[in-house]
């Protein structure tokens, strides 16, 4: 750890640009990190924060732009070269070996040796020293798997700082922490700042940002909006910068008045939900949003039979509704498109045809045998309707662009004409043209009297589509917004303000 002020680092990122399959995630971003300073990076989902961190950690290479450390240009070919330059990144998902002890995790890869054997006594001594130095009251012999999340994070920090670290990047470090644990983390960060480390603190929680950061940079749509010393800006201003110019609500086509209420949920509770009430009517688009873990993801899982346990009462079209398997939800006319397209949506080994019709195969069959002609017809119809750009029905789904993959997943359920569509981040990471096509299709659904539960962290999308937006915080509805009060600014403010 650098103690000498002359060793303070200055990391300059200049004009970083990076695209992922045609979508520009970063558009010429500049950022400067200085030793002895906590620098907060703020922005909505999709603003480019993760890409920036990945470039800094050597995971992703920029298409253009450069990185310089103390004026010396550097190039990160891989994570190891970023580590060699003293950059440590602590991700939301920690990279610890659970069955190992704290000391073993700290020594991993550089164990003190006695001949061919690990010198366990030296390892324990070293661990004790490093933990004491950081003021962490952890038992070096405790197994990491048994520790609380805040303690595990301390292990991760101690592990990162064991190397010659000058720059520490923390990605949403408090997302899973209790308030007390977060306070403890802040004390550690202030201490590290005093020792001359440059700290990049990435967070959605603006109140925390204002409590800890010396400087705040806001990203929006892959560009830097600006950087300000914390005392020179306010929480309201940062929210405004994150959101940018509000979309013109007049862009929205007018909706028909909502019909009969279809879904009634009362006092729904589960792992993250703490009693939520929700009503969705026919022809209504209800938006749900919140920070990670606020409960909106869990609600989607409960409604689609994808959650193991839930309390509360749910009625669908006047009858009790508690699906225990997605197929039960599907039979009652509920469909869900998951946020994790590749992991939970697509079947990578199969083609467009099979992926598109899997939810309809039973309807297309007699005595268990699929009518191949009807199946191909159905897929062709939906490929045309959604303008899926595929070389043919047998093209493997993974070779399609992200936008076309999403269209295949939407068509999978649209073909069954469900009455309630749960759309989970329907346009995340998707090109603008497809995004607009999907938005127009949601308008059509509402027009046809179908209900949509829209879960999105994209506030622009929320304002464009939702008739009503529920902002969740800590498992409860924190705010209900309806046009004209439904603005991007209002949504972000309700999400981040505690």
């Amino acid at each position: 750890m650098p103690q000498d002020p002359h060793e303070l680092r200055r990391v300059s990122l200049n004009g970083l640009t990076r695209s992922f399959s045609g979508v520009r995630a970063l558009k010429g971003v500049d950022l400067e990190l200085r030793g002895g300073e906590i620098h907060a990076l703020c922005g909505e989902n999709g603003a480019g924060k993760s890409t920036l961190i990945q470039i800094l950690g050597g995971v992703v290479r920029p298409d253009s732009g450069s990185i310089a450390i103390d004026g010396r240009p550097v190039r990160f070919a891989n994570p190891a070269s970023a580590i060699a330059e003293g950059i440590a990144i602590i991700h939301q998902e920690l990279s610890l070996v659970d069955p190992f002890t704290v000391a073993e995790n700290l020594a991993l890869g550089a164990e003190p040796r006695f001949g061919p054997w690990i010198d366990r006594r030296a390892m324990a001594r070293e661990a004790r020293r490093r933990l004491d130095e950081l003021g962490f009251a952890l038992d070096p012999d405790a197994h990491v798997g048994t520790l609380a999340i805040g303690q595990r994070q301390q292990v991760e920090i101690a592990k990162a700082l064991g190397r010659d670290v000058r720059v520490l990047v923390l990605d949403e470090p408090t997302a899973a922490l209790s308030r007390a644990e977060a306070e403890r983390l802040f004390a550690v960060l202030r201490d590290l700042r005093a020792r001359g480390l440059a700290i990049l603190y990435v967070s959605h929680h603006l109140e925390e940002v204002f409590a800890i950061a010396d400087r705040i940079t806001v990203l929006r749509d892959g560009s830097r909006v600006g950087s300000w010393p914390t005392p020179e800006t306010t929480l309201g201003e940062v929210v405004a910068h994150m959101v940018g110019e509000a979309v013109d609500v007049r862009e929205r086509p007018p909706r028909k008045p909502a019909g009969e209420p279809l879904l009634h949920a009362t006092r729904v509770a589960g792992k993250t939900l703490r009693g939520l009430d929700l009503t969705v009517a026919a022809g209504e688009v209800v938006g749900l949003t919140g920070l990670a873990g606020a409960g909106h993801e869990e609600l989607a899982a409960i409604l689609f039979g994808d959650a193991s346990r839930a309390a509360g009462e749910i009625a669908w079209k006047g009858r009790p509704f508690r699906p225990r398997h997605p197929v039960e939800a599907a039979r009652r006319g509920v469909a869900m498109v998951p946020a994790d397209r590749r992991g939970r949506g697509l079947i990578p080994t199969q083609g467009v045809l099979e992926n598109m019709t899997i939810a309809s195969d039973r309807d297309l069959s007699r005595w268990g045998w699929i009518d191949g002609r009807r199946r191909r017809e159905l897929a062709r119809t939906w490929c045309e309707k959604f303008e899926v750009a595929a070389s043919g029905l047998s093209q493997r789904v993974l070779t399609l662009s992200g936008g076309n993959q999403q269209k295949v997943l939407l068509a999978r359920w649209a073909a069954r004409n469900p009455e309630l569509f749960i759309l989970n981040e329907p346009t995340r990471g998707i090109d603008v043209k497809t995004r607009e096509a999907i938005h127009r299709w949601v308008d059509e659904l509402a027009d046809a009297g179908r209900s949509v539960l829209l879960i999105t962290s994209d506030t622009q999308e929320m304002v464009r589509l939702a008739d009503r937006c529920l902002v969740l915080r800590e498992g409860r509805v924190a705010k209900v917004l309806e046009p004209p009060a439904l603005t991007e600014h209002a949504v972000v403010a309700a999400m981040v303000e505690g």
């Binding site: 994808d306 998951p338 990578p348 199969q350 899997i358 939810a359």
Partner: protein
């Protein structure tokens, strides 16, 4: 890499094997005689039927190591029943039912209890093998004649068609149709491709996975009938290592061990190719041990090719 070239490259081992087998066959006299070909088909039929059952499990993303031991236990059960005077058809029904039930046990553990398929079927391999020994009291039952009728065939022109080979081909065709054309089969492919996605698309994945193992058991029951019609002896160490031959046939036939890909017809062809290669080796005058050696080598080459093809695909 251009697409056609890549697809040829990923099929390279299959092409090489067929080419190699052809060259060897052409160099051997008396290979392309109806007699030799028929005997290959007959000899391949038992492992062939096992490979078809194995295909369901592999395509669904599982693994069944217990087939050989399951065959031994089924054979022991049927041997006892035949001693007790059960008729041929009744014994066939019993063999199928016992196989199905034993397979369902594997399926229950893998899909409901969620034990690892490898460990599960390794344990049941030992359990079934041990149970076969106990059921037989350590004494083989010989002269089992209930399936005598299956051990024959009919004549088309100068060619003798054995029932065993015919059963193998018919089952392969039926299984291929089920996998390609039925809702069940298509869902098995989806299950092996991405189980979570399949579940969210409304597939009852737990039930389905149980069925894939049960079908492997059913195929083993049928293989037992073919086996007993051929050897007419039930011993505790019957069919040792057959599970490896069946997995080998699948791998050679292009069924992916990662699940979600492959065809039953490929597995059947793989089985025939391996049998042809073995017959070849024997006819060329090499000792038995060479067959084992070559079989192992072939499996490794094909598994490596599968892995390389997948790497190519991702890149």
């Amino acid at each position: 890499m251009p697409r056609p070239l890549r697809s040829v490259l990923s099929r390279l081992p299959q092409i090489l094997l067929i080419a190699g087998a052809l060259v060897l066959m052409l160099r051997t006299e008396r290979f392309f005689t109806p007699g030799t070909l028929t005997s290959i088909l007959t000899q391949a039929s038992i492992v062939g039927v096992l490979a078809i059952g194995q295909s369901f499990v592999l395509i669904g993303g599982g693994f069944d190591l217990s087939q050989g031991a399951m065959l031994a236990l089924t054979a022991a059960t049927v041997g006892r029943l035949s001693e007790a005077g059960w008729s041929g058809p009744a014994c066939i029904a019993a063999a199928l039912a016992v196989g199905l039930a034993l397979g369902a046990i594997n399926g229950f553990f893998v899909s409901v209890v969620r034990t690892n398929p490898f460990v599960t079927t390794l344990s049941t391999l030992l359990i079934f093998r041990g149970a076969a020994f106990i059921a037989l009291g350590g004494r083989p039952i010989s002269n089992i004649r209930v399936f005598q009728a299956v051990d024959s065939g009919f004549q088309i022109g100068s060619t003798y068609i054995p029932y065993r080979g015919l059963v193998f081909l018919a089952v392969a065709l039926a299984a291929w149709l089920v996998l390609r054309r039925s809702v069940f089969g298509q869902h098995v492919y989806a299950l092996g491709g991405n189980a979570d996605a399949a579940r969210l698309a409304g597939v009852r994945t737990v039930r389905l996975r149980t069925w894939t193992f049960a079908l492997s058991g059913l195929a083993t029951g049928l293989a037992t009938v073919l086996f007993l019609s051929w050897l007419r002896v039930s011993k505790p160490d019957t069919a040792v290592g057959y599970e490896f031959d069946s997995i080998a046939a699948c791998v050679v036939g292009g069924v992916s061990l990662q699940g979600g890909r492959g065809s039953v017809l490929g597995a059947a062809a793989g089985c025939l190719l391996l049998q042809a290669l073995r017959t070849q080796i024997t006819m060329s005058g090499f000792p038995e041990e060479y067959r084992t050696f070559v079989t192992g080598l072939v499996i490794l080459i094909f598994a490596a090719a599968d892995a390389l093809a997948r790497r190519n695909e991702r890149g």
